[in-house]
């Protein structure tokens, strides 16, 4: 048995090291799930294609929630959409991050007094990065992604842990706005 530097580490330290290694790879290959609910989604095509070329940050689109790392919520969320968004968020495998686009996810934006649209996204699911603007510039969107990578590097992108810890609080908010989170429609019965 070699007595290396690693064998003297406690289990916690080794776990932390592995997480750091994992975070390094995760932040350099973020698969994003685009939940294009509102008009901010129009900023994604220039960000993804050759104009700003998201691929150089290692980001790419992913088709299913279970394989994605980042959930992009681009714009306003009606109550009907919020239900499906919570379903989607809970299906994603951990660690998972959420980026909220535009003023609608921050404080309701131009829909602040609408009966159909929620005002603050982080009441219902944890949000790691907000990109402000109505709509945000594509530069701002790219900057938001870089910010997210920095947060993952400095271990501050802990929204998904917060969702575990304060699940009761999130659930209470979801129930206050939605009545019931379960979807009852033709396709779920």
């Amino acid at each position: 048995m070699l007595s290396t530097k690693f064998s003297k580490m406690t289990k916690e330290e080794i776990d932390r090291k592995w997480w750091e290694i994992g975070d390094f790879f995760r932040r350099n290959s973020l698969w994003m799930l685009m939940y294009c609910t509102g008009c901010c989604a129009i900023e994604l095509p220039p960000a993804m294609t050759s104009a700003y070329d998201m691929e150089r940050l290692g980001m790419g689109p992913m088709a299913t929630p279970r394989q994605a790392d980042v959930l992009l919520v681009t714009g306003y969320l009606s109550l009907k959409t919020l239900r499906r968004l919570i379903y989607t968020y809970e299906q994603m495998s951990e660690p998972k991050y959420v980026v909220g686009f535009g003023s609608c996810t921050i404080n309701g934006g131009v829909y602040h007094d609408s009966h159909a649209v929620i005002n603050q996204l982080n009441q219902y699911i944890p949000v790691d990065v907000y990109v402000a603007g109505c709509m945000p510039n594509t530069e701002a969107v790219m900057n938001g992604f870089v910010d997210l990578m920095d947060l993952i590097k400095s271990k501050k992108a802990n929204g998904w842990k917060d969702y575990h810890e304060r699940y009761d609080w999130y659930l209470a908010n979801q129930k206050a706005a939605l009545g019931e989170v379960r979807v009852h429609d033709e396709f779920h019965e």
Binding site: L79, K80, G108, V183
Partner: protein
């Protein structure tokens, strides 16, 4: 027919000869509106469907709160003659009810559900008209009626973000002129490669 105005005249003559129309309005060369009694609607729509207006394009309502009435609007379309026909009728606002047109236009299924949800109009004859469609688990009065207050509902239901300051005061800041000049001097110096 080459002249499209002829289409409108053709429709107006066709309908006015066979039905009692309260008011005819030509919206433009592609659209005519007929205001009829509630009892005439089904007969008129059946007649129009036989005459070629086979597609129900839209069905919705208008809230005339001062007259205490709700107006139903059916819009039908013909693929041979480019004329939209609106059939409008007024309902009582307190207990709005209208027999479903499901046997005439089966496509009205979802429109009737939507109209029931947003205006509270009942459509007996459509077995699904009370099923929720867009507003799930709705707990208030129908939201597109004029006496519904969306802001009060939003304030009651959704948490608002609180800000400590309403505004940022940009007056009375220090002048940045000196910093700018320093930066310019630095840039000049760098351009020379650091040589004085």
């Amino acid at each position: 027919m080459t002249n499209s105005m002829n289409n409108v005249n053709y429709v107006t003559n066709l309908v006015e000869n066979s039905f009692e129309i309260l008011k005819t309005e030509v919206v433009n060369k592609n659209q005519v509106s007929f205001i009829v009694e509630k009892a005439t609607v089904h007969g008129l729509l059946t007649f129009l469907k036989t005459a070629g207006w086979i597609q129900l394009s839209y069905l919705s309502a208008v809230d005339w709160i001062e007259e205490n009435q709700l107006e139903l609007v059916y819009i039908v379309f013909n693929w041979e003659k480019p004329v939209y026909i609106q059939v409008r009728t007024r309902l009582d606002r307190e207990h709005p009810e209208m027999a479903s047109i499901l046997p005439i236009y089966p496509g009205c299924q979802y429109y009737e559900r939507e109209t029931h949800e947003f205006f509270g109009i009942k459509f007996p004859g459509n077995p699904n008209h009370e099923k929720q469609l867009i507003l799930e688990e709705w707990d208030d009065m129908p939201p597109l009626l004029k006496d519904f207050d969306p802001r009060a509902y939003s304030d009651r239901k959704f948490a608002k973000r609180e800000y400590s300051n309403d505004f940022v005061n940009l007056n009375g800041q220090e002048s940045k002129q000196k910093k700018r000049e320093e930066r310019r001097a630095y840039i000049k110096e760098v351009r020379k490669g650091g040589k004085k």
